[in-house]
């Protein structure tokens, strides 16, 4: 291979890879609804949200505060929620996380999971309220399996995103 003969010292991965991989993985996560899983109740974890939370918590410096808006819009196209639902909720989450980052003294793995879980719960309950605010029918019993599944799935998604991140910045 020609590449292995080059010096590995000081080599940079392509900027395209560094810049594009995070949003791309989020969009792929949002497209999970394309899988032929047809259910009578919401059960599939919101993969787009899990992926963006993992990236946001692993690489706080990468994301701008407004990044939740465009990626949320793309998620809305695939999720079936009213258009603007994820754009709003993800923006709110990003503002909250930014504030939290400025206040935080130290961070560890468990704290990250806790923050991600809180964000998942906020977005899922918020999403249901947005759909049902006219019929005023918040049914948490319906949402509980999805929340549990998403919270339990988060560490695995974070691992996967960590591995992708290693590849992204590896020279």
């Amino acid at each position: 291979m020609a590449r292995s003969r080059q010096s590995r010292i000081g080599r940079q991965p392509s900027q395209l890879r560094i810049k594009l991989i995070p949003p791309l993985t989020v969009v792929i996560g949002s497209m999970i609804t394309a899988l032929p899983i047809i259910t009578d109740y919401p059960i599939l974890p919101p993969m787009g949200l899990l992926v963006i939370l993992a990236w946001r918590l692993i690489r706080p410096g990468y994301w701008a505060v407004w990044a939740g808006f465009p990626l949320g819009l793309i998620d809305d196209i695939f999720s079936g929620q009213p258009f603007g639902s994820a754009a709003f909720l993800w923006s709110v989450i990003f503002i909250l996380l930014e504030t939290l980052d400025r206040k935080a003294v130290r961070r560890d793995y468990w704290q990250d999971w806790l923050i991600a879980s809180a964000a998942i719960i906020i977005v899922l309950i918020g999403g249901m309220l947005i759909v049902d605010f006219r019929s005023n029918m918040l049914r948490l019993d319906l949402l509980l399996p999805q929340i549990l599944l998403s919270v339990l799935l988060y560490p695995f998604v974070a691992r996967l995103i960590g591995a992708i991140d290693n590849w992204r910045v590896a020279s």
Partner: protein, 300 residues
């Protein structure tokens, strides 16, 4: 875990301003999101083009996976069928014998029915199907209950057309793209189906509850005549669904009505049939009238 970067601005005015600006952009994003939400509530079909583009883009993936998934979807049921195979076989033999007799009776009834209809000169309204397709995906991560159908406007589909399966009503077409259509399932919270009780055609409304059940409210408020096991079928009022399609079975009574389980479980529906709108003329007239009303209101 990367340690949080120290982004405290210190006394630098420039750094403080840039943080302020980034927050402002973030808040702007949230406000824009809220505005878009407001627009999509005022005009639910407003962003259908974007959703259709999204559905069309991922449709090839969904279609090819669902072709494979169709075989494995009921694997659990098929494996469990091997247990108790002998006793099941005996029970089925008995059932078969009984069914044979009932089929003969039904055939006789059908002949009589046809003869009576000819006597009454009733024109039989058998709605033919427009298209038959597989449900290829659904909004499994959202509280909305919308499924995607593998055919679209190229096959003659239009919004409003009822979608059914042999088991019963699945929903109605909400938006169409060239090769995909989005189906609002009966169990969606925004879907109201006019129904009647099969035994005595007691009229009622079935509203989705988002979990495979519907909330059945009788039109005559005050009485609650439902009991477990009542079969609810479409009544044909409203002109969208042709009458007689099974919708739900009552599973329990509530204070004002009943909760029913939707008969056509979209997870198990292998093929959905799209039917024409029952009374397309009436629907068109209603649309024309409402358009006229709007014009009059704006004229005044």
């Amino acid at each position: 875990m990367a340690p949080p970067i120290n982004r405290r601005p210190g006394f630098s005015k420039r750094a403080q301003y840039s943080i302020f600006a980034s927050y402002l952009l973030g808040i702007l994003g949230a406000v824009l999101g809220l505005l878009l939400l407001l627009i999509s509530f005022l005009d639910p079909q407003g962003f259908s083009v974007l959703r259709t583009i999204g559905a069309e883009t991922v449709a090839p993936i969904s279609k090819s996976i669902s072709e494979i998934g169709g075989a494995t979807g009921s694997a659990g049921d098929e494996i469990s069928a091997y247990f108790n195979a002998a006793s099941k076989n005996a029970a089925m033999q008995r059932e078969l014998e009984q069914n044979r007799i009932e089929i003969l009776e039904a055939r006789a009834l059908k002949q009589e029915n046809e003869r009576l209809k000819r006597l009454l000169k009733l024109e039989e309204e058998v709605p033919d199907s427009i298209a038959m397709a597989r449900l290829i995906s659904s909004t499994a991560s959202s509280s909305r209950r919308i499924a995607t159908l593998g055919v679209g406007s190229n096959s003659g589909l239009e919004p409003g057309q009822p979608v059914r399966s042999p088991e019963g009503l699945v929903g109605r077409i909400l938006e169409t793209g060239p090769t995909t259509a989005r189906v609002l399932l009966v169990s969606d919270g925004n879907n109201v189906t006019p129904v009647q009780r099969a035994s005595d055609s007691l009229p009622a409304f079935a509203t989705g509850r988002g979990d495979g059940t519907v909330d059945i409210q009788p039109i005559n408020i005050g009485s609650n005549p439902f009991k477990g096991g009542d079969l609810m079928i479409t009544s044909g009022s409203g002109g969208l669904y042709s009458p007689g399609i099974p919708v739900a079975v009552v599973i329990r009574k509530t204070e004002t009505g009943a909760i029913g389980r939707v008969l056509a479980n979209p997870a198990k529906v292998s093929h959905a049939i799209v039917q024409p709108i029952f009374q397309a003329e009436t629907m068109r007239q209603i649309e024309k009238d409402s358009a006229k009303d709007v014009e009059q209101e704006s004229g005044q």
